[in-house]
Every structure is written in C-alpha cells, then in structure tokens.
Symmetry: D3
Subunit: 291 residues, 6 copies
C-alpha cells in the first residue's frame, strides 16, 4: 500500500516558456531510462522478491517509493516550462496556438492540455517492455545500477542543452539522487563481493561540484543519503550505510521517513486548451457553490 | 511525494498452483484497463491538473495513490498462484520446469523468476499509450468512469473462469473497489449536472451480493467508501459524500488516511529459477553475516 | 457489404502548401481518436453486436459507414495541403525536395509520394489497440460518446493552430459532424435512462457559431442531422430523433440515404516523388493507348 | 463517401463452437496480410492517387470497397465459431467461462464479448505500419499482388488446419476472391509490360478445384470476376477484362454494381459476457417500449 | 564488411518434432535478450565506437561477428525441431496441419513455412528498442555483461523445460559461449579497475559441468576461448587474455580466425506449407534444367 | 557462420556537420525498407530455406552477407554527418549541446553519443515485424524485388533533399547496389518464367547516369555485379549471370569473394557526450598502459 504526501521533493523555480527544453525533459519522464521506468521496475522487483534477504527488499521498496515522487517532480517541471507557450484570446478564430506547430511534440498541446505526456523526447510512448525483472537478485541489482547510470548520463547531456532555470534545477536534483541510487545498488553488490572502481563510478565520472545547482545539493550531502520513504521500520540501513562503494571518503547515510518537501505549484486554467474546461462552460460557477 | 506502507490492502488466501488463472489475472495487472494503467492515468491527471477545483484534484490524488496498492495486490496474487507450478531438484538435468511449456505465458518462468509481469493476459506488454489525459476535466472524469467500468466488467468475466481461492478473493476485493471508484467519478460529474441511470450503473449492472466474496466486502460497506490515502488534509469529501450517484439508498463515505491492511506474504526461494540466486552461489551465507 | 460513392462529404477549398498544418491534421486521420479509429471501432461494434436492439445496431452501422468517408476527406485534405511543398526540376541533381528536411514528418515525402499517411501528428503509426469494443452496449456507447468528444476537443485545439483554408474547412465540417455524433450516442444512452448535462455537452462546451466555418454548417442544421448511409431501410431514427439529449431546443433529424457530396479533387503527378512513376518511364504513353 | 449494404458477400454455414479455429481465422482479419490491412492499404492508395490513369484509381477504389465487406465477413465468421463456447447459468458463481482459460486468445472472452478482435492469430494487434503506399503506382501494384498472394497462401495453409464448416466456407470464398484480385493487379501490370508466368501464379500455384468449396465458386466464375462496388460509372473494366494475365483460357469479367448478398446473422445475447448488458439490467424492457 | 562461411558453429543432433520446445527456443532467437539483439547491439557499439581504445573496438567487432552465427544456429535448431510436426498428403482436403492449432505459435506454420520467426517465445516481434548503445564505453560494457548473463540465465531455465536433443545441444553450446562472453566484457572492465566477485559470476552461478552437454564443451575449454572472427589482424587479445576475471584458475585464450564448423543441414520441401512452392507448380522441373 | 572484414564497402567523403540530413538517412538504416530489414530478411530466408534449389539459397546468402556491410556503411555515414554538430567546452555549464534541441532526432545526442540509432527517419524504432519470410520461394523473391525497389525509390527521393557529400556518396553507392539486387531477384524469377518490363524496372525507372555519383559506379559496372561475399564455393552464378532481366544490353557478372574495400574512419572522442567516457575519468591513461 502507498499513500501520497502532498509535497514535491524539490523546488521548481519560475522559468520562461520553453517547449523545446520541456520536450527534451520528457526523456526523463517517459523514456527508456526515465522515472516511470525505474519506478515500475523497482516496484516489480519489490513485489516479486524471493527469499529472506529482507534488507534488500526494503532497499528496493524505498527507492521504488521515492521514484513515484520523481515522476511527479518531472511532470510538474515540464508543465511549468510549457506554461505560457500558447495563449488564450477572446477571439476564437485567432491563432492562439500556432506555436504548437513549431513545437517538437505537438501532442503537448493537441492531446494533453499543455502538459506532460507519458512519452520520451522523440514522442515514443512509454513501454512496459522497458521493465527489467529477472528474479535473479544480483543481476537485477547490476541492471538497476546501470539504469541509474544511464539516466544520470542522459541528464548530464541534457544539462548542456539548455540553461532554463526550471530545467536545470530538476536535472541537478535528479543527478544528485541518481548518484545516491548508484551507490545504493553498488553497495548492495559490494556486500556480495564486487569491488567497484572509483574511476568508473559514479557514471558519468566527472566532478559534479562544477555544476552549481548540483554542488548545492552535494553540500547538503544529498548524493550520499537515502530516506526510507515508508512510515514503518526498515532494514535498508543494513545495506545503505558505511563507506561509499565508490570510495572518496564519503559515508552513506540512511534516514527514516521522508523529507519535508516543497509546495506543489498550481497550474492555471488554459482556456485555449479547454482545460480544465470548467470556465467557458460555466460549470465552475455551478460546482463552486457545492465544493 | 509518495511513501509506502508495508501492508496489502486485502488478504490473499492460500491457493493451489494455477498458472492458467494466474495468467488470466495478468489482464488486471498490465492490461489496457488494468491497475498499472489506471494508476498512471490518475497520476498524470493529478500532476497535470489545471484550475482551482481543488477537491477534484484531491479525489484524483487519492484514487491514484490507492491504485499503486492495487498493482501491488494483483502482483502478489499472481505470484501466489504461480508458486509451486515448477519445482527444484538436486539433479540439474531433470525436467523440473517442463510445465512451463504448457503454461499460457512461458515468460512467467523464462523471463521472470516464476512471478508477475508487466503484460496483459495474452502476453502483450503494457503500453503508455493506454493512458488518457485530455486536460479537459469533465472528459477525463467520464473516461475514468468507463475505465473503472471496463475493469469491473472484465473482472466479472474473470470471476466465472476459475474458482481458485486467491483469484476470486482478489477479484472480489477489486470489484468492490472499482464500484466505489465508479461512484466517485460519477458523483464528480453529477455535481456538474449529469444524472446517471441506476439501471446502467454500476457497470456491469448486476446484484453483486450473489457473489459471496463480494457480498462480504459489501457488508463492510467497502463499495461506498473512499480513503484519502494521504497523510494530510484533503477536500475529497466535498465530492465523495452524500447519496450515491447511482441511487439505491446508499451513502458515500470518505475516510481520512488509509486502512490497516494485511501482512505481505514472503515468497520462498525458487532454485530452479535461480531466483533469488543467493542460495546456490553461497552469497546468502556471505551476506547473512552482514545484514 | 459496402460500396463507394465517388464523392467527398465536404468541399476542400484551394490552399497554400502547408506541410506543418498538414502534419497536425494527421492526428485526425491516424491518431488515437482519429477517423481511422472510430471507423474501425464502430465497424467492430456493428459486426460483434449481440441481442435484438436492432435500432442500436443500425445507428452503429450508419455512423461507421459515414466515418469511412471521413477518413477519405481528411486524407484528401492533407494531400491538398502538402501539394506544392516540393517541386520537380529538369536537373535531377537539384535540391527540389530539401524542404522535406524541415517538415515535421519527412515520411510524407520520403515514404509516401507527398501524401497522407496512416499515422498521427507525431508520426506514430495507427494501432489496432486503439479500438474499443467491450460487447457491453451501454459501455460501448459511453466510450463512443467520449471518443467523439475527444476528437472534437482536439479539432477545436487544431483550429487555433492555423488559418489555412483547407485545414479549417475540414475541421469545421468534422466538428459539426462530431457534435451530431455526440448527440447520437448521448441520445442512445438517454433512452436507457442517463440525463446529460447541457452544461457539459457537447464537448468542448463552447458557442461554435463563433467559428464562421462551423456556423455555416450549423445554419444548415448539420450538427443535428444523421444520414443512414445505407441503401436500405434502417431503424436508426427510432433513436436519432426528437429533442437533442443536450437540450437547447434542438431537434434531431434522421435522413435516409446519403448526401449529394462534392467532386473528388485530382492530384497531379509529382515527378520529384516518382509518383505516379508513369511519366518519366514512358509507361503513361504506353498504357494510354489501352485504357 | 461510402455506404453500407446490409448483406454479407457470402453465406456462413452453421458450425460447432470452435475457439481454436476461430482464433486461427483472426490472421485473416487483423493479421499482417489480413483484410483490415488490404482494406486500409487500397483506401490509402485510392485517396493518395496521383496522375490521370483514372482506370487504375477506379480499380483500387473498387477492390478497397469490396475489402470492407471482407472484414465484415471474417468478423461474423469468427463470431459464429465462438458462439456457444462458453455458457450462461443462473448461478453466478458457477464456472461458465472456464473454457476461456484453454482458448488460444482469452481476449475473445475477457476483453470482447465472445467476439472478434482487431488482432492476428497470435494476439498481436493490427498495426497501421502494415499499410504500404509508396506513391509509385507500378510498385504499389506489385505490392498489392503479393499482398493478395500472401493472404491466399495463408488461407490455403489454414484450410488444412480445420474442417469446421464455417471456417472452410469463408476461406474458400476468400481464396476465390484473392485469386480474382491477384489477376486484377497482375493485369494492371501486364498493361505496363510485365508478362507473368502461369507457372507461378496465381499463388499458391495449385489446382483449387480439388477443394470442393472453392470449386463451387469457380464454377460460378467467381475467381475471374470483379464487381465495381460503386453506385456510379467506373473505368475499371478498361483494366479488368480480356484474357487472364495468368493465361489458362480464362477471361476476366467486370460487373457493374455489387452482388445480391446474403442475410447477416444475428448474434444472441451472451449474459455470461454481460453482452449486450441489456437483459440482466432490465434496460431492454425499458427501451423496448421506445424503439 | 562481412562475409559468410558456410558452416554452423555447432552441430545440431537429429530430434523428434517438438513445436513446444521449438517455440520456447524462439526467446533465444528473437527475445529481448536473444541473439538477434546482442548481434545488433554489438554491431551498433562497434560502428559508433569513439576514441582510440582500439582493442576494445576489436573485441566488440569479434563478438558481434560471432553472434551472427548464433542467430543462424538457433534459427536452424528451431527449424529442425519443427520439422515433421505437420505432414503433407495427396488429399488436399485432409487435416494435415491441424496440429498447428495446438502449437504455441501458430505463425510457425501459418506465416512462415514451418520455420523460425523473428519473435520471442510469446510471439512478440523483435524490437529495435532492445538495442543498447549509450556511447559511454564502460556503461556499454557493463550492459553487455548483463545482457550475456541474462541470456545465460534464460537458457539455464530453458534447459530444464525439455530434454529434446537438438534443444539441449544448442543451449549447451550457447551457455558455454555466453560464459566466454561474460568473461570478455568483465575482463574489459577489470582492466578499468572493477574487481568482479567469483561468487556472483558467471551468472547464473552454478557448476555447469553437471550438465553433460555443457561439460563436453568445457573440456574443450570453449568457455574460456574467443575467436577473432575476422580475416585480418586484431588487438582483441590485449583484453581477452590472462586470468579469467572470475578467477578459478582459468586462463582466457584468444584465437585468430574462426573455427572449422559443421555442415549446415538441408531442410526438405514441405508441400503442405507450399514451401518452397517449386514442387507442386512444376517450377522445380523447369529451373532444374538451368541451374 | 560469418566473419568480419575490417573494411567499408564504399568510401565516405569528409562532410560538414548536418544532423538534419543525417537523420533523413536513418530511414536507410532502421526504416521499414532500410538495410537492417533487408539484412535480417535475407538471413531468415537463407536459414529457413527449403528444398534443393541450392543456387537460390546461395544467392540469398550472398546478398544477406553484403547487407550487413550496408548497415555498417550507413551507420558510419550518419556518424560522420553528426560529427561536429555539438562541441565540447572546458566550462561544464556552457550550452555546448543546445543545437540538439533543434535536431530532428534528439536521441542522436541524448541516448546515443552523437551517433546512429536503430530507428527510422521519424524516430520510430526498427521492428522485427518488417521481416518478410513466407517460405514460398517465388513469393519471397518478388517481395525481395520490391523491397529493393522501395529502398531505391526512397534513396532517390533522399538524394534530392541534400547535397551533403557524404550523404550523396553513400546514397549513390547504395542506389547502384540496390539496382544490382533488383536484377538478382528479377533474374531469379525470370528463370521461373516471369518476363519483366524494361519500362518498369529497375524502379524507379530513370536514367541514373544523370546523377554524377551514381554514374561513376555505373562506369565500373557496379550495378550489374554481385560478389559472393563468402570464402567458399557458391552456385550463385547459375542465377546471376547472362543478360539482365531488364534488358538494355547489360550483362550480369558474378564475382567470387568480396571487394577490397576502404578504410574504416575513426570517430574522435566527444567529451560533451561523455563518449567514450575514458578521457575525463582518467581511465584511458590507466588502460593505455595495458592495451
């Protein structure tokens, strides 16, 4: 069972409308190595877990739970970046949405109401096929490690594509979290005997403190922490603790529960999109007396 | 943000190995109108919500959160029904897994470790394409209504295919919950002016108390209740309260928080599947000193 | 059995080459809620119809038949808008088709011969997966209602993206027809007991007479009419008649047969596309003596 | 524009319930070389036709129109063969639909209401990707020729898989028609200069009069005829006439209009499927007073 | 550039017709971790290789080349196992192919001519989406390692499903080769600093000499060897040499060129399949005078 | 079995960065009628070959082998054209990759490391579904003929879209080769009795010597030659010899073995892509002492 906490895991700064960068960020939402995929992958590995190595299942459950919030965070970031890229008008024959024809994914405006979609950055829909769950724990863990590494690599490439504030803020947060997750899976395997190279990991190998938004998170030690994201006890810290598997004098820190979080932004009506559809029709007036 | 509660929403009774019925149940997990789909659909509608009708967003968020637990419940039910359908042996050349060749989805045994898969009952993978989110609130709500109705229809058909105890227990629970959800979306639309027919709804129109497992849940009023599935305040009850939109002297009941739940079953090692893979290799011995 | 009437259901005005808007219109042809989908969906519901409520089957058959013509109309509109966007030349090494590299769907020029494709506006191919046919008549009817509503919503969004004449003419015609279809399915359900809200429907709720091209069709009452699109008797009018299910003093009007229609445009040769391929090769000379 | 004629192109004899053979027949409906595909392919080629070789466009239009009726015919045949494979019961807890677990496509019973689906014989959904339309007329015609040949080859393989009467009747009719269509496309290319081998064609090369159901159709010359399937004039006969392109002293015969056809069977209610859903709910009583 | 050597890499023993096991083996051909996928994956990594670490590119090229032969080997094995599962007859109305209705993939008989297909063991077609090529060499190498490990895991599961001789012979050969490939990728990463655990690898961790067919290959040291599969010089041995990365006193052995190989079996005509189609038609007589 | 020859079949001239044309060329790599498809299609037809017409199987094997090299050639051409379209920088916060947002396929930069992808020109992944293999030899041969013709048609359209040198060089080479392949399949069918029209073929019918890059290859007779691409004997020349099936006084020429070929270009590191990833991390220093 899962419950929602009505907060975002990170803050999304105000930004200019930027449908191109918003579309690029779709890779992190619905792409082959995006958040929808790792969320579902870790869920399946948690639910299908076999055997008695409970701390491993607890680790899977915690990160699975965290990833739901990543889907939420990326979805909101895309929405904030799409906001304002088309406009409403009193004249229904005016070309209020012509910019959609130049947008990399017209579905943001045509199928959704100027909002995020369960697709990647070239518009291909999310596939359940992406989900990896072999039942063989060490194999699943290595796959998880490179799933995070691939996501991290892609986000570092994205970072160089736009300096939109909302875009970089969300990427920086997720880069820090993906590094913590790389450490989690690597540590889980280290306990089984693998010794990782601190020259390869975390992937991509690079001094992230050069990226100011990531540096800020690193100063808060976000890249070495893992919340349990559960309301109950967890044996996760039997794995996620001690020295980082990638060395460098870093110490893993498990924390019970979940972070305080940030307010969820409220998206305004977009009448040109007939979204929510309640204003033009007068329904809002009607229901506002009741709710 | 979301957190996990380490409980199942319903109990799964012990059952015999039954890969055929287990496979049929995959439709409820990864099918076009299965739990993965409604979970993701309601999430997208929550995150992409526009305007100020906050009680509607709260309702979407609550049911989205509940559905994550449904994915979990169905996944575990399939696992319990697959359990025991192949066997381990000391002789690695023996045909311990030959039954897989007669199973409707060989991937349960070949790709996964005798466990659930993100696919439907004919083995087609889950598609992000299934997710509906138009941005137009009334339209989304009607779609949600028929998504639940279609799910319910399919589960009523499934119920007639097998009397496996675990199978029927999970179906019965979900039939009751889908009815509550049909009422939720229908009520949300009723506030906007639609008057539903009590002859059509809840779909499929039928006296469910004739199904003993469903009757039990109805006696607990499960088909008229909705938990908020959040740790905070919610305006959901501004919608989900008062008379059922389908009449019949029933009253909708909103409840803060989440139910107590049931223990999560622990799946045993399946050495023939090399799952978890820790026993044969001696890794379990090694890590058990550390965790 | 079906036969063709060599006419279009609406006229397509001459327009400038406009591959971007043409591509946007692909959503109406091959998209998830496009004409290919509703055509196939209504056919399957007609052929798989169970029981004795023949007027319902007749209604399904009529609208299915009409939709084939919509596929034709949208296909021709796209072709008319693509026409002239690349050019032929006597010099085969000249860059006659370089504009294709800037077109949103290069397949219009590379795979097809400057013509429409069975894909949506982001280039994803039509999927049989879109087709909904549950066998449960009321459920199918509600789904049909929101399929039309979703199509209508998308076309109203498209209308704001371009003022290309051919584009808006076809959208306006289809918006009027989709409204008639929303009424058809809503009326069919009204007979079963549902009372629709005139504040929600037809979706998107909006005074369409503000769109001049739609207004023209409304003045001809096109949004309240339904031809039987068959050569024989039909009980369709037992459903499609009387007051509109959305009120507003409108009366539904069933008409036997099919409209007069408009001449089908003839597309010229496109030698740069080797389409039809008969000119350069001299085949046209050869066969013109025979045919 | 297209209209429906409420007749089937061939008669479907009564048959025993046979879900396995019914499922095999799905290949002819929704498979890569099934009727949905050729219907859509010929439509796209008709609508996207370029140049002045009007008889070729007329031929495409006629066969496209005929194929819609083939989709209908195969759909009804599958339905007739599924009929009776599950049963209704007064006891809703009885296992009336357990046979669905042994059926090759459980979706016939679980997703549809014991009826045909837009999928192939292994359950993979129809793909718009199948449709071939290059814009180059000779190329399209050769592709059409082998599309029909492939369909015919598959139907000849199917014929050997079951002697179910409905199954063989529909296959035999379509084998005869596919041969006529192979001749149509081959003749169209012969006019352009290709000389086909009577040793290769029609594919599969084989004395079809040995199949009694096909022989009957051949005696009516069905394999050499082509109706125009339009209500108006057509230049189709400028191509489809004279000697068969495959020799053997056969003469092609073009016929204006469309055949008389056969009554469309009426499928009974299937209460176990909640299909149509009108009986159990009492809706049928209600609407029967109105319609 | 690549050339063919008309030999198989391993011998396929005669076996009984076994369409169920043959279908299971499709996973190894067209599955997500099958031979088509690794072949294409290693090709893309070879062609897209960046930088000067030439021995790594040579290793990729060699294993890519080897995998083409694995596609061939599995394809022939499936064909040998399908052979004889349907029969020809002089009576074209007899049910020579009725067994196809009980086969797990009817397409083996209906779409192909009793032969292998580019699909997995549940009939889902191969997807280019499977191919992983990130451009980041260490990441690609780890992915390759677990691609081989996953393939190996699946083949060890398959081994327990049937004792068909052809089935087990091909599995045993590929298990041995996959282990050599796991060593290749692991060694390539070991040079970069990773120390692998001999308790985890090769996956699945298990004494393979207990499988008699694998043991035979191990006695020939096949699990420690790598041919260059090129006609020219290769720096592959700079990586593939020295101690196995998984320890156990094993030494890696690079060999120039390619193995001698085994004769390719010749598949007989299958007249019931119209395959090759040359016999019934008399074409074989005709061309045999010319070729 | 197959081996690699470390040469390209044609030379790729230096060109400017051109991500748009590079993306268009993806159709030739991963498109429905691209090189990956014909490579796999001919392989399946070779491996699944039935009967004794060995020269036909040898022809299939030779062209299958050649096509692997075409995949390689197109892959490298795309890479050469992508090269330089993004840049590295010492400042990790600079927008070195912003051009990716304007590229038609952002995955070239985001998923791959500025390199080719297994997708078509609209970004849709390669599908195993494309592969045609009916088992009926004449049918397979006609399909192969039009597969080559369709590929050729598309490449002639592409030629008119850009005059990038690398782009046109590779297209010209493949146009010449596709024509040789059209002749191969047509000749194979001519032996069975079909007489092709020299007015239709080779498709597209057009004087290719007007394209200077193609003319050069024609002067070397490349459009009439076929290497065996094997190290052993081959009966291919029993088919591929004598007069061209398309007339015009051309003679087919079979050649044993394979051409000399051209050096394979070496792609530089792309640090902005973290590709290969060895430079920034210091791994290159480390391994360069060992390899």
């Amino acid at each position: 069972m899962f419950i929602s906490i009505e907060k975002l895991q990170n803050e999304i700064p105000q930004s200019n409308p930027d449908p191109k960068a918003a579309n690029a960020l779709q890779e992190v939402l619905g792409g082959k190595f995006g958040e929808m995929r790792v969320m579902m992958q870790y869920m399946f590995q948690t639910f299908n877990f076999r055997g008695t190595a409970k701390p491993y299942q607890d680790l899977l459950r915690s990160i699975a739970s965290e990833e739901i919030g990543h889907v939420e965070l990326v979805s909101y970031t895309i929405n904030m970046m799409l906001e304002g890229s088309t406009n409403s008008s009193d004249d229904p024959t005016s070309l209020t949405m012509s910019s959609a024809l130049d947008s990399p994914n017209i579905h943001h405006f045509l199928v959704a109401g100027q909002s995020s979609r369960p697709v990647d950055a070239v518009g291909n829909p999310f596939l359940g096929e992406y989900i990896y769950d072999s039942g063989h724990l060490p194999l699943d863990l290595i796959y998880n490690l490179i799933a995070e590494a691939t996501g991290s690599l892609q986000m570092c490439r994205l970072y160089q594509m736009s300096d939109n504030k909302a875009f970089r803020a969300t990427l920086a947060f997720l880069i820090a979290r993906d590094h913590a997750h790389q450490k989690a899976w690597a540590k889980a395997l280290e306990l089984m005997g693998v010794k990782w190279s601190d020259q390869i990991f975390a992937i991509p190998h690079f001094d992230f403190s050069k990226l100011p938004e990531v540096k800020e998170h690193m100063e808060r030690n976000l890249h070495n922490q893992q919340w349990t994201f559960t309301n109950g006890p967890s044996q996760m810290s039997k794995i996620f603790s001690g020295e980082s598997p990638f060395g460098k004098d870093q110490t893993l820190e498990a924390i019970d529960g979940f972070p305080v979080g940030f307010s969820i932004p409220q998206l305004p009506e977009a009448p040109q999109e007939f979204s929510s559809g309640l204003l033009q029709s007068g329904i809002m007036d009607k229901i506002s007396q009741k709710i």
